[in-house]
Each structure stands twice: as C-alpha cells, then as structure tokens.
C-alpha cells in the first residue's frame, strides 16, 4: 500500500520536502515500526530516523501499532519547544 508521511524540522530539511510517499507490502498488515524501517532506508534520513518516532493521527505510536491508508502519519524528530 501507499502511505504518506509528514516531515518536520531536521527531517524536513534533510529530505528536502515536507512529505514523503512510501510503499509498504499489504501483508503482513503494516505497522508504525514498518513505516520507520522504510523511512530509514531513505539515504538522507538513515541517520536521523533511529532518533525519531512516528505519530499516527497526532499521537505517538508504538512500533506494533497498525497503520492504514488515510491515517495522518508524521515523522517526529526529538522535540525541543519552549
């Protein structure tokens, strides 16, 4: 299946875009962890992704959480507001 992932801050800068389309196999049912593994195979994100988490529908996901087309996915680098 095709999924779109929003990118922010350092991830956005490294990738040179604020959203990436990725392809995952339909089986086994894709998870947040599988999305992160796929993103980590992008050369420009390889170094950063291990320090990131995935947000699904505005919430940080566990690696085993399921994702599906239509979910708003975002790669969340280490935060630093305030």
């Amino acid at each position: 299946m095709r999924l779109e992932v929003l990118l922010f801050a350092e991830a956005r800068e490294r990738a040179g875009t604020d959203r990436l389309a990725i392809e995952l196999p339909d089986e086994p049912a894709p998870t947040a962890g599988a999305v992160l593994e796929t993103l980590a195979r992008q050369p420009e994100l390889a170094e950063l992704v291990p320090r990131c988490r995935l947000a699904v529908a505005h919430r940080l996901a566990a690696g085993s959480d399921p994702v599906q087309p239509g979910d708003e996915l975002a790669l969340i680098p280490p935060v630093g507001g305030g």
Binding site: R12, H58, P77, G81
Partner: protein, 146 residues
C-alpha cells in the same frame, strides 16, 4: 490554531506574538487565590554564543492536542482551576516570548506545581522544534532546554 471555548483549558499554537496579560486574563476564576504565569523568552546568548534569532516549527494539530492534554492533566493532578498555554511559531527576536503558561488555583502551592509540571511536559513531549540561528550558522536544539 485555536481551541474553541472550554471549561478549564485553552491552547494556542501559532505565529502571532504572545499576549502574556491576555493569557493571565483567560485563567481568571472566582475560586482562585493564586495565579502563576510562566514565560520563556529568547536569550541574547546561549552556550556562550550570540544568538541572532530563533526559529520555531510546530506540527500544529498534534502540538495543540498535546498541550491540551498537558493542561487538563496538570489541572486535574494539582487541583488547579484553569490553564492557558500559548506557543509561538516562526522567527523570534531576542526578548520575544516563545512560550507562556498561565494557571490559576485556589492556593499558591497548587498553582506553582501545575505550572512547573506543564512547562516540563511541554518541553519534553510536544511536537515543536527550535533552531538557534547564530551570526555564523544555525542548529536544531534537541532536549528539553532549561
């Protein structure tokens, strides 16, 4: 992006300058005897380097939801009356307010505790990123700061 009306908590994440006095007004409550307002501002220097400006980027709908959860949880845990949180995005000059948290509570111990808990949670958890821009370069700042 703004919350709608709420019993207890109000959150705003956006590029507009933060009105600290307005935030304090939002937490007025007849049962409150104590209010604590925290503001975080852009310092002229960090780690011995002169700062030119800061840039804040937010994943707005997520940051908004996270701040609302933080505000509700901090009020509930400490028996506070109301809380309002604002975080600015975009380019900020020295001295400008990046974040402000206002809270009201019956007594001062609860107001301080809720305020401190909320700012710690915000800095550690919320989907907001900060870049320090110096005269000779820039960097994304990770970790909670102090």
């Amino acid at each position: 992006m703004d919350d709608g009306p709420s019993e207890r908590c109000w959150v705003h994440i956006g590029p507009e300058p933060i009105d600290a006095a307005g935030l304090l007004a939002r937490v007025a409550d007849r049962d409150a005897g104590a209010q604590v307002l925290f503001t975080g501002t852009v310092r002229a220097r960090t780690g011995g380097r002169a700062v030119r400006h800061l840039e804040y980027e937010a994943y707005v709908p997520m940051a908004q939801a996270q701040c609302r959860e933080i505000a509700e949880a901090s009020c509930a845990r400490h028996g506070a009356c109301r809380m309002a949180i604002a975080h600015r995005t975009g380019r900020l000059a020295i001295g400008e307010i990046a974040v402000a948290i206002a809270v009201s509570a019956p007594h001062r111990a609860e107001a301080y505790a809720a305020s401190r808990e909320a700012i710690e949670a915000l800095k550690h958890e919320v989907a907001i990123w900060k870049r320090e821009v110096f005269t000779d370069g820039s960097r994304w700042v990770y970790g909670c700061g102090s």
